[in-house]
């Protein structure tokens, strides 16, 4: 039998040193950002009941979830998403809390990826969820925080805004069954114009024309003028207008060159009911940030409340930071005590640290090996401490 005791499972990794530092640096910066806007951190269990993710509407295909059974033979999953558990939390334990709630999290999600796809099966997300609040005000806040979160990953980011509502409304007007609707959604998501045109070949009227056009409606401000020609009902017009207002508002904060629009954004996790957004940075082939408005999800858990949120893929952002090189700084001083002077050395370390030095406490037997280590690791000062506490300092 093959033993797996020396390997990590596919899709998972040990993170070492600089990789850890890069990841930590991203989560710390994002935490600081969220806290500065008075968001409260929550943590949910890594293990959840399967039913949480398999409600009335199935947002998560079961083949993408890691499953196991608990001691009572109930089906459990490793958390595949952070929004669902937080919706559950907001609808249950926080049900007495007044809205709006501003929550943030830093925790990993797990998913089964296709074999050998080179994707992470476990990765950390940092994100926020705003439960309740005025829709427009919450959308503005979520988007401006999303832009700030992206700037943490890379100054030259793009934040893209869309609205799931266009698709939902148009597909309702078109009057197709849910299976056809899902195919159409998929063709829009993949901008598969040939398949979309073929599928809608037998449909006439403004809804079909608008759906055909949806995936092509992306870019900058010019998109709105083009979209106006296709959004013919009052409610679609109103939706377009409010998206334009949102776009203008966010452009005002972040600069128009950072903000993009894509009316063809239609998320597979169709708990999204309103605005959708994604963040991109150069050099990473998938979005590093993804989020949107989900006004019905809490209702599934028994508390009607509108909500909006996003998550940053910390692994992706960290990879990016790591690729650009994090400067790892060497210790300032190596402190060597040796046999009998261990505690004296530690006391000296304490003093140096309180003076603001970065200190490496030697665990070597001889002063020579300690000095050799200092030389190899670019530590330019070596303090040798005797048992009585006296210190001899040498510059190397």
């Amino acid at each position: 039998m093959k033993r797996y005791d020396l390997l990590t499972p596919e899709g998972t990794r040990d993170l070492l040193f600089e990789e850890c530092a890069a990841k930590r640096s991203i989560t710390e910066k994002l935490t600081r950002l969220f806290k500065s806007y008075c968001y409260s951190e929550v943590m949910t269990p890594g293990l959840e009941f399967f039913d949480v993710f398999n409600g009335k509407v199935r947002y998560f295909p079961q083949e993408t979830m890691y499953k196991l059974v608990d001691g009572k033979n109930r089906l459990m999953v490793l958390r595949p998403d952070n929004t669902m558990p937080i919706a559950r939390l907001a609808a249950t334990r926080l049900s007495g809390e007044e809205l709006p709630l501003k929550l943030f999290y830093n925790q990993s999600v797990f998913m089964v990826n296709p074999k050998d796809s080179g994707r992470d099966d476990e990765f950390t997300q940092s994100g926020i969820e705003i439960i309740g609040g005025e829709i427009a005000a919450a959308d503005y806040e979520a988007l401006s925080l999303a832009a700030k979160a992206l700037a943490v990953c890379d100054e030259d980011y793009r934040l893209e805004i869309g609205d799931n509502g266009f698709f939902r409304e148009l597909i309702f007007q078109l009057g197709v069954d849910s299976e056809q609707a899902e195919s159409i959604r998929e063709f829009i998501e993949t901008k598969n114009y040939p398949a979309l045109n073929e599928m809608l070949g037998g449909f006439y009227g403004s809804a079909a024309e608008a759906i055909k056009k949806l995936p092509a409606l992306f870019g900058g401000e010019e998109v709105f003028a083009e979209a106006e020609k296709y959004m013919l009902t009052d409610s679609l017009c109103a939706r377009l207008k409010s998206l334009k207002a949102l776009y203008d508002g966010i452009c005002g904060i972040c600069g128009a060159d950072r903000i993009r629009v894509d009316l063809g954004l239609v998320h597979k996790k169709n708990y999204y009911t309103g605005i959708l957004f994604r963040g991109y940075v150069e050099g990473y082939g998938r979005p590093v940030l993804s989020g949107g408005r989900y006004d019905n999800l809490l209702g599934d858990f028994g508390r009607e409340a509108a909500a909006v949120g996003f998550a940053v893929n910390v692994e992706a952002a960290a990879k990016f930071l790591y690729a650009r090189g994090l400067e790892a700084s060497a210790p300032d001083v190596l402190v060597h005590g040796g046999q009998g002077a261990e505690t004296a050395a530690l006391r000296h370390c304490e003093k140096l640290i309180s003076d603001g030095y970065k200190v490496y406490n030697s665990l070597f037997a001889s002063p020579e090996s300690a000095a050799e280590y200092a030389k190899q690791h670019n530590i330019y000062r070596v303090d040798t401490v005797s048992a009585d506490g006296s210190v001899k300092s040498t510059e190397v």
């Binding site: 080179g118 793009r158 993949t190 598969n192 993009r260 150069e282 050099g283 990473y284 082939g285």
Partner: protein, 215 residues
């Protein structure tokens, strides 16, 4: 990363030749592409474009991961392999179809016994029969699939059929069409957004110049 050229991945072989013809028609200098030797990354002089040659499934992988911005690959590979990217045009060349073929004269859909199907494309086959609500055993074969029903391993095969000559020579015939196939232009989802202007321009040129489109 900032200044990387727009990278197009082409599926080696027939699709590559057609695609190079297409690039030439657009007016790009394809001398390098025609005299490639053993090189795998080729430049297009005077353009901010480079071309990568890869096996079909790898074209998808490279585009999906964003290391190539555009790709030209057959619908057969897209159907079998899946993945997340924009599949924006049907280039019209490389036309053929996925078909279910059986020994001449047999009626595959008759009877209640579970049939065995041999194929190089288990994913496509599985979805086809799932949609039909039919229970079949699927056997993955790497080489000439036509052999499987002849030696009695399977009742039928699902394979790419172009002219049908190989089938005919081996006493097989097409029983049902699974899906039409042609070459597709795919684009990485992030590249499309970050380099919208340049990529839209290339896509427009490609679409305007693929004359096979309506054949």
């Amino acid at each position: 990363m900032e200044n990387r050229k727009v990278r197009i991945a082409l599926t080696k072989g027939r699709i590559e030749n057609k695609a190079v013809d297409l690039l030439e028609k657009i007016g790009y200098d394809v001398t390098d592409l025609r005299n490639k030797g053993r090189r795998l990354i080729l430049s297009v002089p005077n353009e901010d474009i480079e071309v990568v040659l890869a096996k079909a499934a790898d074209v998808i992988t490279y585009v999906e991961h964003g290391v190539c911005d555009l790709g030209v690959v057959g619908k057969d590979t897209i159907m079998e392999h899946g993945g997340k990217f924009f599949e924006i045009s049907d280039l019209g060349f490389g036309k053929c179809r996925f078909a279910l073929a059986v020994k001449k004269g047999t009626d595959f859909y008759m009877g209640y016994g579970v049939k065995t199907v041999a194929t190089k494309y288990p994913e496509v086959t599985r979805r086809f029969f799932e949609a039909k609500g039919m229970d079949v055993d699927i056997v993955k074969i790497e080489g000439s699939v036509e052999l499987a029903p002849l030696v009695g391993l399977s009742d039928g095969i699902v394979d790419i059929v172009e002219t049908g000559t190989t089938l005919k020579e081996n006493g097989l015939e097409v029983y049902d069409t699974v899906a039409p196939i042609s070459a597709r232009l795919i684009v990485n989802t992030v590249s499309m957004k970050l380099k919208q202007e340049r990529i839209s321009e290339i896509v427009r040129l490609i679409e305007e110049n693929c004359d096979d489109k309506n054949n």
